[in-house]
Symmetry: C2
Subunit: 377 residues, 2 copies
């Protein structure tokens, strides 16, 4: 921006929502805010785990018939915060595995808690983390026969950044792998509403998953809540340590000590999201970004690139074989003034890829695609 002060820079880098929050949701938040000035509507500390009605609505909306109950849901201020609270729960002595590439918060929070060794520059990895390579060659699902046993397995599906959603069969393998190894899966389903194909939207669709997995999720990408801050974590009561003690009891202790509940106004918004009108409105938001995704995918496909993701996620993962992600990122930024994200920032297996986010307004997405076509025609 210093170099080209007049350039219209288009941000398709970080996955930041751009579209208005549907009115049915903001009206509920505004009403809750105003009610806080009334004797009847005022409320102080809520339950650290979230308001009962919201926990029940999350359970029935996203986990109907999956054996997940209201008291398995812990409402939070977002998945990112909960990932770090989970790391505090796990402590510094656990070993962990992550998809490579994946959302950086898993590795970063692990490093901060002291679970890892030093960064090894030659292989671009932190020591003591098991990187599960996910590339087009293995359909973005790790070859579990080559994955070392760890205490914790972070798994994000639909994946950020590759946009790939694991199939039922793949997740069944993952659950069995965790069961065989006595591992806990931290399943990140923050993009589940973007799934179009017949693929699981929750790890709890896999029988037995409740014994080996917990799940973090968020309203951010469904309702444009990136700034409002609201998410949740499911810790099923069937998930137990080897000594039979429920993990949920420990997580409850962490939540009560390290957190004081999500904002009551945001929770009112979450409840509105899960009303029939709210669900319809969220699908419209998701549908809008999915149209963006298609426009971006079609563009790169038409230019002859190998394009991944997109179908079940708001991220398009474009392959530039043999090139450095940062170099391609720089080329795109320099020549089109569009900000993308270099794939290698998500892990060494992201090298040679660039992530294009579909979170943007339509005009910007169309303009960005026009510029991509000029650059790579």
């Amino acid at each position: 921006m210093l170099k080209y002060p007049d350039a219209k820079v288009i941000p398709l880098g970080i996955g930041d929502t751009t579209e208005r929050i549907p009115e049915v949701i903001t009206t509920a938040m505004a009403e809750r805010a105003k009610a806080l000035s009334t004797k009847k509507g005022y409320s102080g500390y809520g339950a650290e785990q979230g308001e009962k009605q919201l926990r029940a609505a999350i359970a029935s909306t996203f986990y109907q018939n999956l054996g997940i109950e209201e008291d398995d849901i812990f409402v939070s201020d977002g998945a990112k915060s909960d990932i770090s609270r989970l790391q505090v729960l796990f402590g510094s002595k656990v070993s962990m595995a992550v998809q490579d590439p994946s959302y950086p918060a898993y590795v970063d929070s692990s490093v901060i808690l002291g679970q890892t060794g030093l960064y090894q520059k030659d292989v671009e990895r932190f020591a003591k983390i098991e990187y599960m390579r996910c590339t087009p060659e293995n359909d973005f699902f790790p070859d579990l026969s080559n994955v070392a046993r760890t205490d914790i397995i972070f798994f994000c599906s639909p994946n950020n950044p590759t946009g790939s959603a694991a199939s039922r069969e793949q997740l069944t393998q993952l659950v069995q792998f965790a069961k065989d190894n006595g591992s806990i899966i931290v399943y990140d389903s923050a993009y589940a509403m973007y799934v179009s194909e017949d693929k699981p939207r929750s790890i709890f669709e896999i029988p037995g998953a409740e014994e080996v997995a917990l799940e973090v999720s968020s309203f951010s990408k469904y309702a444009g809540f990136t700034g409002v801050r609201l998410g949740w974590t499911v810790v099923p009561k069937q998930l137990k340590y080897s000594d039979g003690f429920p993990v949920a009891n420990d997580f409850n202790r962490i939540v009560c000590t390290a957190f004081n509940g999500a904002s009551n106004i945001a929770q009112a918004g979450g409840l509105a999201c899960l009303s029939p009108e709210g669900i319809k409105a969220m699908h419209e938001v998701v549908g809008f970004y999915k149209e963006n995704t298609k426009i971006i995918m079609d563009t790169f496909n038409s230019l002859g690139f190998n394009v991944y993701g997109g179908v079940n996620a708001p991220y398009v993962w474009v392959h530039f074989p043999g090139r450095s992600s940062w170099e391609v990122f720089g080329e795109i930024l320099e020549k089109t003034h569009v900000v993308t994200t270099p794939g290698s920032g998500f892990g060494p297996a992201g090298e040679g890829f660039v992530r294009v986010s579909a979170f943007g307004n339509r005009e910007n997405v169309l303009e960005a695609c026009k510029r991509f076509k000029e650059l790579y025609k």
Copy 2:
């Protein structure tokens, strides 16, 4: 409540606010919420550290002329969350000191991070924590000549639960003690607006404190934000490790990895709190609870008890010499149906005391005091 289903139980236990949030503040939050449905008013991810305008307003309202600048302020979802984020920053290998008695989150978060040894039942303390005894005998300020050197010193003033506010001279001693020992003070000033006497409202009123202290605070008890969730932490850029690296740089890393900013709607409320009308309204809220405090203090004084706190804090610390806190708590609950908090829950030096919170509506406080008078006349 099972035993006396018809009893009108009055909660003066946990410090939960009961009074309506002033309209100037909720109006701003409602407007921000509604604006999120407009193209112009929508915002996604904000800065993890908080909105620039709010950071500036906090710096100028609470730290004018104290050398604290906008970029030293980290806006959060509350002091409790920030205390745990600070513990993640410090890690498991530090040693810590706490006032005894004090707000349990300091010790609890330290235990969770693995900084302590096991709980020692005989002395009712966790091993490896330095408990700084604060009782009427030492004017609720520790005898620092008997305090062992630790890496971290948690210090809450006005104190929860004793209601005692440290003097300028005492805090000057504390800062010098930290300087001599290379310790970091985590100063909790969540009740600063309740100070009536000429005592510091911030540790940064003490010259040189910016080199040894950081400060956590909150809108909870000023504006009734216990449910809205908004606080802040000040990490001055002058606060450095012994190798010269700024603590703020590490805290910034933690905040960016473990947190995604406070709710934008809550931040709009915070900004309204710091407008001239908002400040006036907060003083009215604080004034209301201070009147409650006086009513409770006068009651116990008239009954011949030794009563502490109250003047600079919304907590009254009542001495029942020779008796167990839990026994007194049970007696009060059983005979008056008023919930207080047993002092020993805040640390072994709280034994023999009961904390009565002034957070309640006037009718309840008057009724509770009437019942206290009947019980202890």
